[in-house]
C-alpha cells in the first residue's frame, strides 16, 4: 500500500529540526510521498517507522536480477493483473535448457543455436535470455564440467537446476560469482540449499509439490534464513492448475497481505514439439517471470519471443516504426510508391499486403506520432502538407521518374490538395483496407499493361 504524506508524517519524530533540508516534518513527509526525498535524510527516524515506510515503499513483487554485467536479466516488480491496467514491465525471461548427461556435440549445438539467435523485430532485438543447466548425472564433477563448457561458449546468465546438494555446491564453486539463478530448494533440503544461496548471494527458486500455501510458507522460511532474492515455482500439473496457481499467487502478491507471495514466478515448459511451446505461451500470457524450455527447438524461438514482445508492449503507448522509405521486395526507383503512417500496426499490415501482391514497391512512412491513418488525418498529422513535406525531405521529387504516389483510400479527400502541393505528380487513391492492396496493385498494373505502375 502506498502511504499518503499525512500517513508518513505520523511516523516521523515531529521535531521540525530542519536537518533533512525541509522546513518542517510535514513538508518532508510530503516530499517523501512524492518520492522527492529519501528517508535517510532524517537522522531521528525510529526503526519501527523505517520498517513501516520501507515495507510500504517496496514493490509488491520483488525485483530480482540474474547474472552480471550487460547480459543481466531483471524480473519481477509487476503491478497489475491485466496489461491494459498499466503495462507488464519486466519481460518473461526465456531459458533454453541443457543437461549434464548430454553428449558434448549435442550440448554445443544446442548452446550455439540458443546463443546465436538474434532477430530484429518492430524496432526491438529479440533473443533468449538465459541458459538452464540441469543436473541429471548425480556426479558433481560432471555438473561442474558442463557448467564450465556452457560458460566458455555462451555469454548468457545461467540457471542451475539440481536437487543434489553436493552437485549444487560443485556448480556454485564454478559459476557462483556470476550470479546464476539456483533452482533446487525443494522442501526436503531447503535449509541446506538456502544456506548455499546465501553464502554465494545468488537468487534461489523455492518449489513445493503441496500447493501454493505450502510453497509460500517455505518461501517465508527461506527468507527468514537470510535469502532475499527468491522465485516461486508452483509444481502445477496441467494448464488449468498452472493458470489457477499463477493467478492466485499474482493476486495475493498485489494485495500485499499474504506473506511469502511477493516474488516472481518460474515454470518449466515440458514436452517436445508443440507441447512445450504451448505451455510456454501460456506462461508468457499468465504471469511467469522465467520459463525454462526443457526441449528447445530453433523454430520455437521467433514465435515465442514475438508473443512475449506482444504481451509486454505498453498498451498505453502506440507502437511506432521509424518514418522513412521502406523497400519491399526488389524495389527500384521506378517501382510503385505508396504512403502510410508510422503506427506499427498500420505499417505491418500495409507492408505485409504489398509483399503479398508480389509487386516490388517503395513505402513512404510519415511521422504521424504512431497514429493510424484515420486518427492521424483527423488530428491533422497525416494530410497533404505532411505527405508533400515527406516526399520532398526524402528527395523523392527527383528520384521517382513516374511521379505517381498511392495514398490510403481513407484519405481520398486530400488527393486534390496533394496534387497542388506536389506539382506535376499524379495522386492515386488506393483501397481503404490493407487487405485489398494486392487486388488493387494487380488491377492497376493490368490496366497499364506492364509489371510496374
Amino acid at each position: 500500500m502506498k502511504l499518503t504524506g499525512l500517513q508518513i508524517f505520523k511516523l516521523l519524530p515531529n521535531k521540525n529540526c530542519k536537518e533533512c533540508g525541509s522546513q518542517t516534518c510535514l513538508a518532508f513527509a510530503m516530499k517523501l510521498a512524492a518520492k522527492q526525498a529519501k528517508l535517510d535524510a532524517c537522522p531521528y527516524v525510529s526503526d519501527e517507522a523505517r520498517e513501516k515506510l520501507g515495507a510500504a515503499a517496496a514493490p509488491p513483487i520483488r525485483l530480482v536480477s540474474i547474472g552480471t554485467g550487460d547480459r543481466a536479466v531483471s524480473i519481477g516488480e509487476e503491478l497489475v493483473m491485466f496489461r491494459h491496467e498499466k503495462t507488464f514491465f519486466h519481460k518473461t525471461a526465456l531459458a533454453a535448457q541443457v543437461d549434464d548427461a548430454m553428449e558434448r556435440d549435442e550440448l554445443l549445438s544446442r548452446l550455439q543455436l540458443a546463443c546465436s539467435f538474434l532477430v530484429e523485430r518492430a524496432g526491438e532485438r529479440l533473443a533468449l535470455d538465459l541458459i538452464a543447466v540441469k543436473e541429471t548425472s548425480g556426479a558433481p564433477e560432471r555438473f561442474a564440467e558442463t557448467i564450465r563448457t556452457v560458460q566458455e561458449k555462451c555469454p548468457l546468465p545461467l540457471v542451475l537446476i539440481s536437487r543434489n546438494a553436493l552437485c549444487i555446491s560443485a556448480g556454485l564453486d564454478v559459476a557462483g560469482s556470476s550470479r546464476p539463478l539456483l533452482w533446487g530448494a525443494e522442501i526436503a533440503h531447503a535449509d541446506e540449499v538456502a544456506a548455499l544461496a546465501k553464502r554465494f548471494s545468488v537468487p534461489l527458486v523455492v518449489e513445493g509439490p503441496g500447493g501454493i500455501d505450502e510453497l509460500t510458507a517455505l518461501a517465508c522460511r527461506v527468507e527468514q534464513s537470510g535469502v532475499e532474492d527468491i522465485l516461486l515455482a508452483p509444481m502445477s500439473d496441467g494448464a488449468a492448475t498452472r493458470l489457477r496457481d499463477f493467478t492466485l499467487l499474482r493476486r495475493r502478491a498485489l494485495s500485499r497481505s499474504f506473506p511469502g507471495t511477493g516474488f516472481p514466478l518460474i515454470m518449466s515448459a515440458r514436452g517436445s514439439g508443440y507441447e512445450g511451446a504451448v505451455a510456454a505461451a501460456g506462461g508468457i500470457c499468465k504471469y511467469a517471470s522465467v520459463i525454462v524450455i526443457e526441449e528447445p527447438a530453433l523454430w520455437e524461438y521467433l514465435p515465442l519471443l514475438t508473443l512475449r514482445q506482444n504481451i509486454y508492449t505498453d498498451p498505453q503507448k502506440p507502437l511506432q516504426v521509424d518514418p522513412g522509405i521502406y523497400r519491399i521486395g526488389e524495389a527500384a526507383e521506378d517501382s510503385p510508391l505508396l504512403v502510410t503512417t508510422n503506427f506499427s500496426l498500420t505499417y505491418f499490415m500495409v507492408s505485409t499486403e504489398i509483399e503479398a501482391s508480389e509487386i516490388p514497391s517503395r513505402l513512404l512512412v510519415t511521422d504521424a506520432e504512431g497514429q493510424s491513418v484515420l486518427t492521424a488525418w483527423a488530428a491533422g498529422k497525416f494530410n497533404a502538407e505532411v505527405i508533400a513535406k515527406a516526399v520532398t525531405a526524402h528527395g523523392l521529387t527527383t528520384s521517382v521518374p513516374h511521379r505517381r504516389i498511392i495514398i490510403p483510400g481513407y484519405v481520398a479527400m486530400i488527393s486534390g490538395d496533394l496534387e497542388d502541393k506536389l506539382p506535376g505528380w499524379n495522386v492515386m487513391v488506393g483501397p481503404q483496407e490493407s487487405a485489398d492492396i494486392p487486388a488493387y496493385m494487380k488491377d492497376v498494373c493490368k490496366k497499364r499493361g506492364q509489371a510496374t505502375l
Binding site: 491494459h84 508443440y274 505461451a281 521467433l302 508473443l307 508492449t313
Partner: protein, 324 residues
Amino acid sequence: MPYNYMEIQKKSTSHIHAVRIGNTPVDGGTRAFSLEIGGQNCLPFHHFEGTYPNRPIVAWEVTDVRPHDWCDTAAEPYLDVLDEPIAWARSVVERRGARLICLTLRGTHPDRENRSGAEAAELVTRLLREVNVPLIIKGAGPGEKQNQVLSACAEAAQGERCLLASAVEEHYKTPVASAMAYGHAVIAETPIDVNLCKQLNILISDLHFPPDRIVIDPLTGGLGYGMEYTYSVMERIRLQALDGDAMMQMPFICFVGQEVWKVKEVKVPEEKEPLWGDRKKRGILWEIATAASLLYAGADILVMRHPDAIAAVEKTIDELMVKT
C-alpha cells in the same frame, strides 16, 4: 474505473450468454448435435471461482472456391480437396473429427469470382445435406454484395441455427434481419475497440434480436501483427461483462487462421532466414501461439486452418477444461 478482480470472485451474478449453434431435429434442424458456447460466470478457465460449462470450440475453415492465396504449408494437408468444398468439409468431419465448419464464401467477392448469392445458397444447401455438423457461414467482406449472399444463404439454411458472419456497424441490419427471419445466430464484428463493440451490440439488440444469439468478433490480429490489441480488448470486454454490463455478455469468436497464414513469418523459407528454423513447424506454431493466447483472453470459438495446429490447440483446451 479499474475492475476489482478480488471482488469479482465473490459475486457471480453476471455470466456470458450461452449461445447454441446448430439445431438437431428437436429444435427443427437436421444437425447431428448442437454446440453450446459461453455460459461461464468467471474469467477464462477460472474453474476455481466460477462455472465454465462449455469448452471453447475450434471451427475448421473450408472455402467455396480454391483458396489461391492460402500459404502452401496451410493448404498442403487439403491438396486433394481444395477445389471441392463438399469433399473438403466431409474429409475434416469424417477423417479429422471436426465438430464445426466455417464455410468462407470468398468466391462471392466482386474482385474474385463474383459468385452470386444463389450459387452460394446452393452450396450451403448441398453442404447441409452432406455434412451433419453445425455451420458458420462467412461472407466475403462487408457491403451490399455480402448482404445479398448472407440473406440467400440464411434462407437456404432455414431452421439450422447457423452462425452468420458478419454484421458490422455500416451493414448490420440485413445480416441481423436474415438471422432473425430464418432462426440463425449472428456475429457482431467491430475493429478492436471496446466501445464500438458495445455500440454494435446495442444497435443489434434495438432490433429486438435476442442477445443469446450474438457472438462478438473483436477482430483478430495475428501474432506480431496486432494480436496484443485484440488480446487486451477481449480481456477488457470480458471483465466488463462479468462486472454486469449486459451489452458485453456475449461469447467471442476469433478468426485466427486467416490472419496467421498471411504473415511474413509463416512464408519466409529457411534458406532466407536460417535463424527462424523449420518453416512448416514455425508457421504451425504461429497459428497455435495466436490461438492459445486468445484462449487465455477469452476466445470461445477459434477459426483455424492447419490440422496439426488444431490438434495442439484441442489438447490445450482439454488441459484448460480440467476442473480446478
